[in-house]
């Protein structure tokens, strides 16, 4: 993918202080977009403090094809982004309804408010690129292309779910769309993502295949205090893996504020410590996220290695549907609600004459119907039968071993019925 960005050209010339913190031996890549930060950051008493200034929004963008076009997206692109975010929002709202009606159980973590991050990144990926997520994975799966029907059925625990009902809310997998899950423990998916990126590099360098697939790993602010995160930052930078680490910093890990748990809350700074660019972006603005994502993805595709992107975002609902969400300040919630990414994109599209109200309403209606249909489909789908119990434990069911009668246990007819004792 050819790019107009060269290693030394800054993205925009407004402030020299927007340069990234990188080890002195490397060429500084172009500056990235940022946001006005309102976090009360503890002032550090050393040289770095002087370089930190409020990062301002970008004014001009260097574009590949149309350098004179001031807009960030075309109409088609805008509508795709809008539809994807509406799908994420409607789907999650429907999940909440269905949960309270007793259609799904367990832990369900909703993504309301964070749609800009998922849409901003995943809509730039191809089908063979991989996405790894956490338990807050419904919208990542949808953005990657898993059908709403398959995700809803999975949530209802039906056979037609993307994981045959065996995974549930926190384990959305799709081999077809390269959605590598869905992990219940935080940080667990990051090494898996690193492995997927390793395969990409292996295919290129050992198997000599034409492979420039990238992997995007999504995780939260709480994960950034976990060892697996740092171990993988190290390996990804060391082996120059085609991976983008995306931190969805929504400031809260259940009831633990990011500021109460992290010695240095600026997560993007941890990238340069490992030798990769670290970027902070306004995660409530899909266009800003998209611009950062473009550069990070093309960096990875060119073989230049990983990027750490910190998206400042917010979840409008509690941590999960079981969370009463009493700890967060109402003023904070109101502030971020005013920055709703969907409202912002809608405003952008209309103000820049890329779409009119009618077209957007059509999309909203279309998505409403789609989500309703997904619920109907999931309702009508059958529950898994007993025979499914023992399938898929092993890829090769000989792994259940040889029974006392000399036959492999998987040959026992009771095995396929699901009633065998293994």
């Amino acid at each position: 993918m050819a790019t107009a960005f060269s290693a030394t050209l800054p993205l925009h010339g407004s402030s020299q202080e927007n340069r990234l913190l990188l080890p002195p031996t490397r060429l500084p890549p172009p500056s990235f977009l940022g946001s006005t930060r309102s976090l009360p950051i503890r002032r550090l008493n050393h040289a770095h403090a002087a370089r930190r200034s409020p990062v301002v929004a970008v004014q001009e963008i260097v574009k590949e094809k149309k350098p004179t076009n001031p807009l960030l997206i075309t109409k088609e692109e805008g509508l795709v982004l809008y539809e994807d975010m509406i799908l994420g929002r409607s789907f999650e709202d429907m999940c909440a309804q269905m949960y309270y009606r007793g259609k799904m159980f367990g832990f369900v973590h909703l993504y309301n408010g964070q749609e800009a991050v998922s849409t901003g990144f995943i809509k730039l990926l191809t089908k063979s690129d991989s996405v790894v997520s956490t338990y807050r994975d419904h919208v990542h799966a949808l953005s990657k292309g898993v059908s709403a029907r398959a995700v809803m059925s999975e949530l209802f625990g039906k056979v037609t779910g993307c994981c045959r009902g065996q995974g549930g809310s926190m384990h959305m997998f799709s081999k077809e769309h390269n959605m590598l899950g869905g992990f219940a423990f935080i940080g667990e998916g990051i090494p898996v993502a690193t492995g997927a990126a390793f395969t990409s590099k292996y295919k290129r360098e050992v198997l000599k295949q034409d492979c420039d697939d990238v992997t995007v790993a999504f995780f939260g602010d709480g994960t950034c205090n976990n060892g697996q995160f740092y171990e993988c930052l190290n390996m990804a930078a060391l082996y120059k893996l085609p991976i983008i680490f995306v931190v969805e910093n929504n400031l809260w890990a259940i009831g633990m504020s990011h500021l109460r748990s992290t010695s240095d809350p600026e997560i993007w700074k941890k990238g340069p410590a490992f030798g990769m660019p670290g970027v902070h972006v306004d995660g409530m603005d899909v266009l800003k996220v998209r611009e950062v994502a473009k550069e990070a993805v093309s960096r990875a595709r060119r073989g230049e290695g990983p990027t750490l992107v910190e998206c400042e975002t917010y979840r409008f609902r509690g941590h999960s549907l079981a969370d009463p969400d009493e700890l967060r300040d109402a003023a904070e919630k109101a502030k971020y609600a005013a920055r709703d990414p969907i409202t912002a994109l809608k405003k952008y599209l209309i103000e820049n004459k890329l779409a009119n109200e009618g077209e957007l309403k059509t999309i909203e209606k279309k998505i409403d119907d789609l989500v309703e249909e997904a619920v109907e489909f999931a309702d009508a789908s059958p529950q898994p039968g007993r025979s499914q119990l023992l399938e898929n434990v092993f890829a090769d069911p000989k792994g259940f071993g040889i029974g006392p009668d000399g036959r492999y246990r998987c040959e026992d007819p009771k095995f396929t019925e699901g009633t065998a004792q293994v």
Partner: protein, 405 residues
């Protein structure tokens, strides 16, 4: 301590293998039985001449129906030459052959590349295959095990080495949650054909943390298979089988067995992952063991034979799942069982095996199942203390005498 292949193709082993008729293998539409992929499989571990008929060898390569169990005379007669090597060389040979055969097989671990492996199992491989195929990782077990799992999900076949099995405790999250469970939670979409291997067991005064037996901790994880090698022959065979398996397999090696010498066939062979190995057929008592304890048992067996006993010794090899057919046939013959293992007493492999035997073969037992395990003690450094935590041949002799009264 040289390895010797003991026993003939005991009745137990041969019949175990000849009853596995692949034509009877029911392949329901939704299960992922290897029928379709059988062209790549060559599970052969027959006993004697029945083997070639019993297990269908569908691989295009000509494979000898090598005996999992063969008399010394048989080996030299049927295979002719063979070559002698040490157990770690056998592991390396198996690994190298599989890496030659399939370019997706790769190795990752600490010091596996330039250093050649801390026990020399990967010696020379980095020179031959390059730094990416034999990857020297930083010291981050959890992350590089997870990386191996992610690579396996996306098409590679990594062999992940724990420099010492004990270090894999740091990777427990990845081994339990991702390695074991991911095939299931993804509804069968992703396979994890990894091999996790490394040396464990009590060595020579290595101290408590380097002397751990992790098989007891991992055995409950659903979705993984565990095998333990004990001779150069089965080390190479199990290594190859584990790499070819679509399931995640944990291969337990033992620090003190790496220098065992044995003559193994020149021709290609693999060992069956789910089967036990008949080491010495007998009539009086069944002794079940694995890994290093096999040699303590065989040493005790010499004493026992002199005293007039006829023990049947089986190396269970497959720690999860247990080969209940070979074991069951033996119990039905001798009616007495002694389990000798290096695992801890509490919750070890022996404990599970005792439960399985009692559940399945209770009617055939003339005496309670006896299990000799290591003491529930962190392995001490002092040589004398260390010796007393592990089962010694004298204890085995005493136990057999007690059971056979």
């Amino acid at each position: 301590m040289a390895a010797r292949i003991h026993g003939g193709a005991g009745a137990g082993a041969a019949t175990a293998l000849s009853t596995f008729n692949p034509k009877k293998l029911v392949a329901p539409s939704r299960t992922n039985l290897p029928a379709a992929r059988s062209s790549k499989r060559c599970i052969v571990a027959g006993g004697g001449s029945d083997a070639s008929k019993s297990l269908s060898v569908r691989h295009s390569q000509k494979l000898i129906a090598s005996a999992a169990v063969a008399t010394k005379a048989e080996t030299s007669a049927t295979t002719g030459t063979g070559h002698e090597l040490l157990l770690f060389e056998a592991l390396q040979e198996g690994l190298e052959e599989e890496m030659d055969r399939d370019p997706h097989v790769c190795v990752m671990g600490e010091d596996v590349g330039h250093y050649g492996g801390s026990y020399k199992v990967t010696k020379g491989l980095a020179d031959k295959f390059g730094d990416l195929r034999v990857l020297d990782t930083p010291i981050c077990e959890n992350a590089f095990t997870g990386m191996g799992i992610g690579a396996a999900m996306t098409g590679l076949r990594p062999v992940i080495e724990g420099m010492n099995m004990g270090f894999l405790l740091l990777a427990f999250n990845q081994i339990s949650n991702n390695c074991g469970m991911l095939h299931y939670t993804s509804g069968g979409q992703f396979t994890i054909p990894v091999v996790i291997r490394g040396p464990g067991g009590v060595g020579r005064q290595l101290g408590a943390e380097h002397s751990q037996r992790l098989e007891s901790y991992f055995q409950s994880i659903p979705g993984i298979q565990m095998v333990a090698c004990s001779t150069p022959y089965n080390a190479k065979g199990l290594m190859k089988a584990a790499i070819r398996s679509e399931n995640p397999v944990i291969l337990f090696e033992h620090v003190l067995l790496y220098n065992l010498k044995e003559k193994i066939p020149d021709e290609e062979y693999i060992c069956n992952l789910e089967e036990a190995e008949m080491v010495r057929p007998g009539e009086h008592i069944t002794i079940l063991t694995y890994s290093r304890m096999r040699y303590h048992v065989m040493q005790a067996a010499k004493t026992l034979v002199n005293k007039g006993y006829d023990p049947e010794v089986i190396d269970i090899r497959s720690l999860k799942p247990f080969d209940l057919y070979t074991i069951g046939n033996s119990v039905k013959k001798t009616h007495r069982v002694l389990i000798v293992e290096e695992c801890m007493r509490t919750g070890g492999i022996g404990a599970s095996l005792t439960a399985a035997i009692n559940e399945n073969f209770h009617d055939y037992l003339d005496a309670p199942v006896m299990c000799l395990s290591s003491q529930d003690v962190p392995t001490p450094y002092a040589g004398t203390l260390e010796e007393w935590t592990v089962v010694q041949p004298a204890q085995i002799v005493t136990a057999v005498e007690q059971l056979c009264q």
